[in-house]
Symmetry: C2
């Protein structure tokens, strides 16, 4: 591994979009852009907010195998993390991660509507830079 | 379907990057950014150039179930196409789609190196705009 984990974390925090890969009911990969994670713990755990009835919530429940992709297309750099996604609907966790600004997305607030969390836990990663790539394990 | 296919084609042509979803050997979705397709036939067929030894070539050969995703993050619009990818190594087709500018990626030229083609054929699609989405079949 030529690049340090701290540099990868910095790379992630610079991107305003995360691309989430899920599996649909026919076993096809699906991709969806999401707002950047609301909480990140190293390269291991990423929390996203989303709508409870959304397709990726249903897909993650049916098959937790997922990936995250962060990309700087101008620099030809990309980071893919492969892992599992858990749908978290716990009131205490939702209240803890709720922000007032989310009201624009979820009129019911932290507990009274469609606000739900996706917790992604990374297992392995691959960083692309130019024509090269590096694989690594996320401890 | 509220949006017309012509508008979706126009949306695709505006994006400089395509995100390709593949399946890895453990059944996880993988995502990789690619340069926009070198040839597009409606919303049905998309041709990409890539390196023969690359991971996604291996993955598409092992499992052709794939997706394409085009995204305008500023406008919260995204188009996902679900379908199958075929790896095309036919000399006549490669010569026909070769451009001189590709020499910067493939020193061996159209036939003497790692230049290879991915042909994606769409089956279904989903267009995201704001908080809404529309599903459609690609004829």
């Amino acid at each position: 591994m030529q690049i340090k984990l701290e540099q990868l974390a910095e790379f992630i925090d610079k991107q305003s979009t995360a691309f989430v890969g899920t599996l649909d009911d026919l076993g096809y990969p699906n991709i969806k852009a999401m707002l950047s994670p609301i909480k990140r713990e190293g390269l291991k755990t990423f929390w996203f907010h989303t709508n409870a009835p959304s397709l990726k919530v249903r897909q993650a429940r049916a098959n937790p195998k997922t990936c995250l992709y962060f990309c700087d297309t101008a620099q030809f750099r990309g980071l893919m993390l492969r892992g599992k996604t858990e749908v978290v609907n716990d009131d205490a966790i939702k209240t803890g991660l709720w922000r007032e600004a989310f009201t624009m997305y979820y009129k019911g607030g932290a507990l009274g509507g469609d606000f739900i969390l996706l917790k992604f836990t990374a297992e392995t990663g691959r960083f692309y830079f130019g024509f090269d790539s590096d694989d690594f394990v996320v401890e």
